[in-house]
Symmetry: C2
Subunit: 348 residues, 2 copies
DNA sequence: GGTAGCACTCGACACTAAAGAGTGCTAGAA
DNA sequence: TTCTAGCACTCTTTAGTGTCGAGTGCTACC
């Protein structure tokens, strides 16, 4: 690919900026009038024709202005755009919303998602952390019925997971309490990803051989953990913001989009992959993702975690035409700040 | 109001049936051709004019067919329509989906909501039970940080609630365990609505006076309960089904609707009121509810509970034009069956 | 290399006409 | 008295037409 001259870049930037603002195809005259470069529309047209040949711009129809392609946007994001700094007031506002530590972490994540959506006027999304990356804090067995035991599992960062197992034999709450005590002592601070191994190891140990109570406790914990691993959830808020974008005036498009949002498992997978791919902010533009229904959307995301360990991912989903220079720092800051809030309880 | 003759009723029914099927205004000729009554279009027209005068039908514009009004639909539902029985196969299908008791109750409710939406091709809705109507089963305090204590509260039916309190003084997990034991013993099987009184009562008692540990446990439990009471949540699934209805081809309408769904608190209030109003199935048609955004929707709902006690409410939200005769029995059956599933653990 | 001018293309919009569905009313039949 | 056939009328929908304007590509010229 031919290298872009300074002027080419300026034109590309002008087209994109204008397009992001208006959503309409941008004509040569518009750019010329802006006066960033003092050249005539005709000159601009020549440059635009070049850019189109390189696949950076696109003409929806012969006599229309130009619209950036995914490739064009990508180039712009990677090497032309300057992210704005967040004003102090903006940071304060985000802090205020997240700082009042709410009732439970579920609500914190949900609130984060809502904040992102309102603040960026797009859909906000937060992925519930995968349990496997957390550290064990506490387990509790509660007898619900003659064969039902409820298990509540809590991670150091304060994430709660509940599950439910069948237990063939009659068992009392007092016994279950003993189970809890055994397991809590055993697994204190162990990463949940290695809990299972740890249990298996212990099962082969001497104590389990002679202490039936202990070995049954291990068995129960094993089952509970098995139920827990694949658990995942996601909060998508502010979907209706997307409707306000003129690009979704089309009902058919809107419908596809809502369908995509309702089938959460696929979005979870997308986010999961994204999280593993990078530790910093990441942008996926339209066709760069594999979900058919999201081909016209982009995702701006960043992992969050407790201190250094990444736990989940949060971000903003919106149309290709978004105010990236504003949203990127918002997502970045939110992730950083949320990590701090969560990290507090994880540290000691 | 003049009483309806048999023929009037037949015409009303025919109009409504046809309208529910097609969504288009229904003309006199259409009904005549159906051949339910052997009369000419002109006769039907006379009857329709009468019905319109009574406010049961409406003509969108001078030269169009008729559409039922809310009043007309209400009359139809209350005294003309015959609910279909669910076929055995249909019942089986519903059972299958709900019976495999899932990981946790949250998932069970969510799954119910999804099932309703898929099965009725509208939006399904389930209200998370209010904690106040449940009975106490178990409480657990877990130390998260020097000043943070996480509280997990479990009801007999297996509902879990987590909250989070600040505690001014340093406290060890061992102490917290003692707290849990005290409170669990004290509150076993008490209705959560009277837990607070019970605690206050106990605080004035002799034991609290002399046993500081006990009185501190009470204090902590009191705070936890305070956080818990107003908690409520709702699952709305299958919103995209609504988009498939031609009446929502209009983007503006769609947008209002999505906004309504995103502001869950108002829908929760609506359901809450509905739940208290009646013990059986209940239908709210369009303008009969107070939410501006839902004026064009109706809600078919039924309370569910553990055994006899109503806990929450579930139902289907869709446009005025719904296949009531099919959906009503589905909602009814689902509520009954869900109550059974939940009831199991509540009984002993 | 940049610019001005010009002919051309295409979508948006407004306007018109025709088709079709459905009604209300009236006069006559059962 | 009740029903029906017929007719004039109303209103929406759809297709078709003409005009306007934004924007382009090309060419000749500075």
């Amino acid at each position: 690919m031919t290298k872009l001259t300074q002027r080419d870049q300026s034109v590309l930037e002008a087209v994109i900026t204008d397009y992001i603002e208006t959503g309409e195809p941008v004509g040569s005259r518009t750019i010329s009038k802006r006066g960033v470069m003092n050249v005539s529309p005709a000159t601009i047209r020549n440059v635009m024709a070049d850019l189109e040949e390189m696949g950076l711009l696109l003409q929806p129809h012969t006599s229309a202005g130009r619209v950036p392609t995914v490739k064009g946007l990508r180039l712009y994001l990677d090497s032309i755009m300057q992210s704005r700094q967040l004003a102090r007031g903006e940071k304060e506002r985000i802090r205020d919303i997240l700082q009042n530590r709410p009732q439970d972490i579920r609500e914190l994540l949900q609130r984060t998602s809502r904040m992102l959506s309102q603040y960026c006027r797009q859909a906000g999304v937060v992925l519930w952390p995968r349990f496997t990356v957390m550290r064990f804090k506490h387990i509790e067995f509660i007898r619900l019925g003659s064969n039902h035991v409820m298990v509540v599992l809590i991670s150091k960062a304060g994430f709660v997971h509940q599950t439910h197992i069948e237990w063939p034999e009659e068992i009392t709450q007092a016994e279950l309490d003993k189970f809890s005590r055994y397991i809590n002592e055993l697994l204190q601070n162990v990463p949940i990803s290695s809990v299972k191994e740890r249990i298996l190891e212990e099962m082969r140990g001497e104590k389990a051989l002679f202490d039936t109570l202990f070995s049954r406790a291990l068995e129960m914990a094993k089952r509970a953990i098995q139920n827990t691993i694949e658990d995942s959830d996601i909060y998508i808020e502010g979907q209706s913001n997307l409707l306000d974008n003129p690009e979704f005036a089309d009902v058919e498009r809107m419908r596809r989009l809502l369908h995509a949002f309702e089938d959460k498992s696929r979005i979870i997978r997308l986010l999961d992959v994204t999280m593993k791919a990078s530790s910093g902010i990441q942008i996926i533009l339209g066709t760069e993702n594999d979900l058919n229904e999201l081909q016209e959307m982009s995702l701006i995301s960043s992992p969050y975690g407790a201190g250094e360990t990444p736990l989940g991912i949060l971000g903003v989903i919106g149309p290709l035409r978004m105010d990236y220079s504003r949203i990127i720092p918002v997502v970045e800051f939110t992730a950083k700040f949320l990590s701090q809030v969560i990290g507090v309880s994880d540290e000691e």
